[in-house]
Structure formats: C-alpha cells, structure tokens
Subunit: 193 residues, 2 copies
DNA sequence: CAGTTATTAGTACCTGGTACTAATAGTATA
DNA sequence: TATACTATTAGTACCAGGTACTAATAACTG
C-alpha cells in the first residue's frame, strides 16, 4: 500500500494552519492548498473543524470578558482630570470581571494597573518604564466600589519622575504607591538619548 | 417643537445595548425595540455602527492577541513547580502584547500579575486577597525575555500568609516582592469565618 | 392641509457557509 | 484488465445576517 500522503498530509497541514491563523476562510484555504473548496469542506467536516464564522464567534466570546476587565487599550480607569507633570485623577467602577470567581473582591493587579496607568498618564508618557514601586494595599475592594485615583508628581530628579498615587473608595484609602518612572523615546528628542 | 424622544432615545439605547452586549443581531434588536429590522438598520447606519459580523470579527481579532498575552484564565505565567504552602515556580515568555506600543519594554503590571498569580497559586487559594505588597522592579523586561518566578511561603501568622516572590531573567533579578495574602472562603470551612 | 421626517416593505445581491447528490479522476487489487 | 473503492470536484438548494437601494405608507409639524 502506497503511503497516502496527499489527503492525510493536507489535513494535518490544514489543522495546523487553522489553529495558527484561525480567521482564514475556506476559499483562502482552497487557494493555499490548491484544491477545490469542496475538498477543504470535506476535510473540515472529517476533522470536526467548525466554519470560520463559528471560530470567530468563539474567539470573540472567549475574550469578550477580558476586554472589559483589562480596558480597551492600555489604560485602566478613566482620566477625569489631568495636569501634565503635576497631578491627575482617574475613576474606575469595579465590576465582576475584575474579581476572583466566587467572591466580590477585586484582584490586586487591577488596582495596581489603575495606579500605574494614571502615573503614566500624568507624566504624559505612554512609553515609560515602571522603575521602582513601593506600595500598600490597605483595604480590599469590592464589586461596585467607585475607585478614585489621585496622582501627584513628587519630584523629577535627572530623568526619573517620582509619582505618588493614592486610590480611595468613599474617601477611604485602599491603596497607595510610589512610582519611579523613566520616560522612554516617545515625545522626546534624539539628543536626550 | 415636541421632544423627539422616539428615534433619538431608541438610538441612544441601541448604542448602549450594542456596546454592552455586542453580539446581538439586528433581528434580536428589532424584537427588543419593537420596530422593524429596517429601522434597526437605518439606526445603525446613521450612527455608524457596523454589522454583527463585523463587530464579532473585530472583537475576535482584538482579543486574539490578548489570549496569548493574558493567558487562558486568571493566571499569568505557567506553573512549572508547586509545593502547596511551601514554594512554586512559574514561567513566562514576554511577548509584544505585553509591551508599550512603540518599545520592547514590558509593562509593569504584567510582571506584577505574574508574581501575584504565583503567590496565590502557592497558597492554593484562588480567592485570596492581596493584603500588602512591598516590591521592587529592579530591571526592565523586554520582549523575548524568559521570566522565571520563584515564590516561597515565608510565614503564616494568624490567617495571613507572607509570600516572597522573585522574578529573574537569565539568573538576574528583575523583580522582587512580598505579598501578604489573606485566604477567603474558598476551600475553607464555615467555622473559619 | 402641505411638507417633512420616520418607519416599514420589498427586491436584488453579498459572504461564507451547510447538506446533499452526482459525476469524474485516480489508485488498488483480485 | 476489469472492478472496486477512495478522493476530488461540480452543482444545487438552502441558510444567516447582512448591504444597498427603491418605494410606499405613517406620523408629526408648522
């Protein structure tokens, strides 16, 4: 018996290709593998690989919760006041996606991220580096809590910024931290490198 | 002039609804708002809201990269060794999704999350609370760096755990932190509350 | 009551499929 | 070599969830 390379090999490659780049249509696949669209569909059927739309739907849903949790871009919390190089205030309402599964307690890194985000915003440098942070979580945060973060630029020695961030819920401190930030090649000029 | 509630209000609610639950079809929307499908489509057109498939496609793609970055569940980094209440080791390769947009530098909260994740894992309590953390980022982390986190349970006074976490890249320390963790009603019995 | 806006209806068309039937090409084996 | 089987391709009807467009009707407004 000859080794049935063609079909088996193609199906193996197909599976690999779909797991690597899941948003590829049957038509594109048929062009890549130089077979008809029907062959691709038979292959998918035999291997139980769902159609493109189903794969997209699954991917979209799996991750939907994470968008909410981690914020749309790089920032956690909403900036409501900002004086560059001086101070800033951001706001965040804790939701269920930020908690541990069975409890109402917000995970620490959301608090941290909120503080870090604001610290970065206040020195107007998205591409900055968290140097040293010395911080304290004073009180647990629960779902529904309205977090207000206040950042103050304390000092600016050399090229480092020291930013203090305090987060409060109803005037009560839940977090404080000191961020040493080193801006990186963004709005800076060449000579500063 | 009468307040044009109907159309304006519906469009406002529509937009809100779609941003909250983005995977809703025009047909479902038409049932919810008790208008025809055409009306829903006109509304979307006027407000520049793309069709369901486009919204799903965008969500799937936006998040496709984040899966990689944020890990499948709640954990950042892969646990490779674990002795409950004693010590644990986790691993993470820094990728582009963890960085600031134009640089190679990994954002601080990924480092923090990796450490926190491991600290939680090592006391076998997903639902624990980060009490106080005293930490230091010693060195920036870049894309491709292979991060190794080591956690040690230092002490267990009352119901608090003190866990030390060190993260290294090629034997060199990039982070250290002390986590005070208070386990919460998960694998515990009633009486402990 | 005329004019404007809002809503609904309907058609043709699109993508990216499913599910099915049927024909053809290629290979294997008695 | 004829027969059997597998692989591939072709084609049809159908589906969801739309776009883009035209046209008619309903509802307000001055």
């Amino acid at each position: 018996m000859k080794i049935k390379t063609k079909k088996n090999e193609r199906q193996y490659e197909l599976k690999k290709m779909i797991t690597e780049t899941p948003f590829v249509s049957d038509e594109e696949l048929s062009e890549i593998f130089k077979v008809s669209i029907q062959t691709i569909r038979l292959d998918r059927l035999e291997m139980g690989i769902p159609e493109l739309r189903e794969r997209m739907r699954a991917a979209a849903q799996k991750n939907y919760s994470k968008i909410v949790g981690l914020g749309i871009s790089e920032l956690i919390g909403e900036i409501i006041e900002l004086e560059v190089n001086q101070q800033g205030i951001s706001f965040l309402e804790a939701n269920r996606e930020m908690t541990f599964k069975k409890t109402d307690i917000v995970k620490g890194h959301y608090i941290f991220s909120m503080a870090e985000s604001l610290a970065l915003a206040v020195i107007n440098s998205k591409a900055a580096l968290t140097g040293v942070a010395n911080m304290k979580y004073s009180k647990p945060v629960s779902v529904g809590d309205k977090l207000v973060a206040k950042a103050e630029v304390f000092s600016q020695r050399n090229k480092d910024y020291i930013v203090h961030v305090k987060i409060t819920v109803k005037q009560e401190q839940v977090f404080r931290g000191k961020f040493i930030l080193v801006p990186l090649l963004n709005e800076l000029k060449e000579e500063e490198l």
